[in-house]
């Protein structure tokens, strides 16, 4: 059983949704990323999503754009992100790590080399925003050869035929984008999200996580009623940003304090 499968088996057994916090690797500074990952796990994170900084994050809202820009001022590269995961794995062999990012840093390293190094660093899955199913076959295969899952986004605009084509390549879990918009935008229609998530769960064997626009415990709790996992990104990154210049202890504390009530709300 993979680390991701083990998490979902456990959360299902305990009748709750899994919590997936997102942070941008290198934000607010590269030395704090691994401590932040451990702090998030200690506060109840089930799976960690680590953003690979990219100069042109066209699917991200202003909060994650700023986080990315902070990371890039330290020159954080994909190679360094993999080193962070390797470092994290020295103390934590159980919590799955999903890398989320854009195609170009991966292409610059080379898809095959990236898949190999990500696997040996202890990455579990990869989500690349701008590799839709049509262009994803090379990376899906490379990841698969090294035992990694390729995670795909499904959005409110995705028709059923596309869902099916996407599910054929998808691994780990399906990431359902709960709104039309960029990360961190306002969530509008919970019923639409619910209908789509149930449809996705009926279609395949993969768990379905929901992300984009989940800012607080209340919304997370509503999502947990029907979703297998809830991703919290921009709101957490913003909580970190607000104390970014206040020292490491406060930053770690703020991140943990932010996700604890969300984790509690995921119990069904």
């Amino acid at each position: 059983m993979s680390r991701l499968e083990a998490v979902f088996a456990d959360t299902r057994a305990h009748n709750r949704a899994a919590l997936i916090p997102y942070i941008a690797a290198g934000d607010p500074n590269p030395l704090l990323t691994v401590p932040l990952m451990h702090a998030l796990v200690d506060a109840g994170a089930d799976i960690l999503e680590l953003g690979i900084p990219f100069s042109d994050p066209m699917a991200d809202g202003p909060i994650i754009q700023r986080a990315t820009e902070r990371a890039l001022t330290f020159g954080v590269s994909l190679r360094q992100v993999l080193e962070m995961v390797m470092d994290f794995r020295r103390q934590d062999q159980l919590t799955p790590v999903v890398l989320m990012g854009y195609a170009n840093p991966i292409e610059a390293m080379g898809i095959e080399q990236f898949a190999r190094e990500a696997a040996s660093a202890g990455v579990d899955a990869v989500l690349t925003v701008d590799y839709p199913a049509e262009e994803a076959m090379p990376i899906t295969q490379a990841l698969k050869e090294h035992g990694l899952a390729n995670i795909f986004l499904v959005s409110p605009t995705t028709p059923v035929e596309r869902e099916q084509a996407t599910l054929q390549q998808a691994g780990g879990f399906i990431y359902y984008v709960s709104l039309r918009g960029v990360t961190g935008a306002q969530l509008s229609d919970l019923d639409e999200v619910k209908a789509k998530v149930l449809e996705l769960k009926a279609q395949g064997n993969l768990p379905v996580g929901v992300g984009f626009g989940i800012r607080d415990a209340q919304t997370a709790g509503k999502m947990a009623a029907f979703a297998d996992a809830v991703v919290v990104g921009s709101a957490l990154v913003e909580a970190i940003e607000m104390v970014a210049d206040k020292g490491d202890a406060l930053i770690l504390g703020a991140a943990a304090a932010f996700i604890k009530p969300i984790r509690a709300a995921l119990q069904r």
Partner: protein
Amino acid sequence: MGYTQYPDAKGHYGIYGGIFAPETLMEPLRELTEAYHRYRVDPEFLAELEADFQYYVGRPTPLYHAQRLSNHLGGAQVYFKREDLNHTGAHKINNSIGQALLAKRMGKTRIIAETGAGQHGVATATVAARLGLECVIYMGADDIVRQAPNVMRMKMLGATVVGVTSGTRTLKDALNEAMRDWVTHVDNTFYIIGTAAGPHPYPQMVRDFQSVIGREAKRQCLTQIGSLPDAIIACVGGGSNAIGIFYDFLNDAGVSLYGVEAGGDGLETGRHAAPLNAGRPGVLHGNRTYLMQDENGQIIGTHSISAGLDYPGVGPEHSFLKDTGRAHYVAITDDEALDGFRLLTKMEGIIPALETSHAIAYAAKLAPELSKHQSIVVNLSGRGDKDMNTIAAIEGFPL
């Protein structure tokens, strides 16, 4: 067929192009592709486009024999395809009109666009005003300063101009922001991309609308020169005017094609915007193409005196034409472009855009290498009114 059979059904030009877009845009892009393929052969659509080209844009634009400049350069006869004489002052309106007519047929009520020099923004604001559509233009905060006259024109035309302060505050960041807007408002919004880049079908659609330039130029060459030209020169930022004039000549092996990139302070300085000369293939803004990037795949800041060429990528078909050797891509520095600007202004009484000045500067290098019986066509893609602030500052004129 030869070079004109591209893209394939998935939008690829060899290994370039494609659809590298966020999932939310995949279905809207499919709908757009479907609509475009329906209307590109629809007689009624084509008749409306043709009528707009003739009566609203002012096409066909002349092919002008610059005799005084040709004599001065002492080589090939230099002709200019006068896209600067189009309504709104550049080739950009050819594409804006085409896409806006498509938007209307698709029932979209809101138009968005990115702009660098402001020419595409002005052209899009113009057609939006004429069709009564809401219009939002994204423009890098730095470009808003250096292209102030065009910002005023867009505002007068009723468009909302949004300054983009993220990243390098130029064209690439405006494109990112326009994509974010589109992801958020896909239901009622049509994104008019101004250059032959972006996810499929944009590179093909923009090329097709701009290819009127090359079709006219070919006809005019045969009438006025009595033969095809020996060379065609056009500036390349994203590359819409270049692919527009190249396309009808792609299978004419005797016609050399030259795309001129922005060499900025010089290729050796790294401060330039010449991905085809000094970049590597990668993925940005929905397509695979040559990019200015560092060893980690981060897009690096570009530099050019002309806002319209200040872009780290290039249309995928140009990447394909470079690799196949069908077109040659060269670079002209800021200083050389300024010399080209002065040359055309003083020799022929035509004030070109700074973007176009790069093509003129290369023509001034190439013409003396050819005989006076040979001919060069330069795509005079835009006029220079918008650049008066930049030029005045360089020449020390008070404005």
